[in-house]
Amino acid sequence: MAILEVREVDSGYGEVQILWGASMALQQGDLTSLVGGNGVGKTTLLRTVMGLNHPWKGSIWFEGKDVSRLSAHKKADLGLVLVPEGRQLFTDMTVYENLEMGASNKRARGKFQQNLERVFEMFPRLKERSDQQSGTLSGGEQQMLAVARGIMADPKVLMIDELSLGLAPVLVLQLFESLKLLKNLGLTILLVEQNVQMALAVSNYGYVLAEGRTELEGPARELIQNEHVRAAYLGL
């Protein structure tokens, strides 16, 4: 059974419909990529899964329960965590406080020390900058902190919107390394990424979103070989 399932979801902003019957299923322990061009609804899909946008139609299932109507903070309590696009750090707060805020839900509070050690091991830079205001970090450090804050929430499913956007190649590599590490720890991950090649290379499974619905899905290594994907998203 899928740990997270999106069934035929319509959603959007105000009068503007972005998602037209989007569907998706995440298997426990998988790293799944969600790819597609600009404006096809990847971010909207993640926001709708989290409850920041409400599904107009269709439903969202998490661990076998219908969570379509739950607010974002309730979903975070359940273990559904989003690292949002543009990082959305608490810029006026220190690195450490951001991590503390990540561990706001009840489950995460109990595992605070354990998760803190894990993220400091993954991103030693954050440990060094622990007392620095997060708004003054470099772009790469901010992205590390955004991911680390997500891990502090002790997620069952971690969704990451644009992991590598605007970062130097060396940092991108480092972040993808930490992603593999998380996957090896057994975490279920959904990755939205404009670097399609890299995303599919580390994933088990992939979805291609176009015009607000799922256009294509399959094991990542098959998608990489797919003619349409190669032409449209990999520039090959």
Binding site: A72, Q88, A153
Partner: protein, 287 residues
């Protein structure tokens, strides 16, 4: 006026200024957390005055003890106002929240006027004078200022060292991100509004031990709160204390060189000048 007279009025200015700062703190906290200008702020200050007055005159409790009760009632009133009048319009343009708090103000002020009339009241309580050399300080003023500093310190501790306080800062900083981390932002906003209201009520209670007042007296302090908010930076509760200090000093110095009636004029000229040259306030944060 001799040098001891000058010193006395400076000290008076500082003591009153700190209480002004506390009065402004609730206004700036609410603005800082949820970008709402609370136009019922002044009336809640007046409610704080009447709270202390009523408990003091009917139960005979020490006015400073009654402050604890007034604080609790202020917190509950604020949370109620948030859920009744603010929550529905929190994401609407500023005009909607402004009108909502204006309406709350008219209701509270109307009820207050109907029940208490606009007659002057006085908390008849004195702590005598404290004599230091040639300088005389009223005991009630000293205690009010110390209480204001204590409350400001407690607020600082709450916001920076406790979990709910940090949640308030997180929601103020980025509400959507706070939700994503599992912070129930609606409850946190209600709590923030409650604390802002509580601070206004405490300030009112302290002012009631200093001067006679009516149900309409809060308006003056609301206006002062705006000046202080701009001096100290709206959204910066600790800056309020410094802003209040400046205002208190101005009010003690200006009457030495010109008639008392010039005080509000100069205060608001200062207000406009700061808005023009440094809209985030002298001690205001960046942005």
């Amino acid at each position: 006026m001799g040098s001891s007279g000058l010193l006395t009025s400076l000290i008076d200015g500082i003591l009153i200024g700190v209480v002004y700062g506390l009065a402004a703190m609730g206004l700036t906290l609410i603005w800082g957390v949820m970008n709402v200008i609370n136009l019922s702020h002044g009336t809640i200050i007046a409610f704080g005055m009447f709270g202390v007055y009523l408990i003091f005159t009917t139960l005979g409790l020490n006015p400073y003890l009654t402050l604890v009760l007034v604080a609790i009632l202020g917190l509950l009133l604020g949370v109620a106002i948030y859920f009744i009048a603010i929550q529905r319009v929190i994401d609407a343009p500023h005009l909607s929240t402004l009108l909502a708090t204006f309406a709350v103000n008219m209701i509270l002020l109307g009820v207050g006027t109907a029940v208490f009339t606009t007659n002057f009241r006085n908390v008849d309580y004195a702590l005598g004078n404290i004599q230091m050399g040639q300088i005389t300080v009223l005991g009630t003023r000293l205690v009010a200022a110390l209480a204001a500093v204590f409350v400001a310190g407690a607020l600082y501790f709450f916001l920076y060292k406790t979990r709910p306080g940090k949640y308030i800062r997180a929601v103020a900083n980025n509400r959507a991100a706070a939700e994503l981390m599992g912070i129930p932002s609606t409850q946190i906003l209600a709590l923030s509004f409650g604390i802002g209201t509580m601070l206004a009520a405490i300030a009112g209670g302290l002012i009631a031990t200093l001067f006679p007042f009516t149900i309409l007296s809060g308006g003056v302090y609301e206006l002062k709160s705006f000046v202080i908010g701009v001096l100290g930076g709206l959204g910066n509760p600790i800056g309020s204390l410094a802003g209040g200090l400046i205002l208190g000093l101005l009010e003690s110095i200006i009457p030495i060189v010109m008639p008392n009636t010039w005080v509000p004029i100069l205060e608001f000229v200062l207000f406009i000048i700061i808005l023009l040259i440094r809209p985030t306030g002298i001690f205001g944060a960046k942005e």
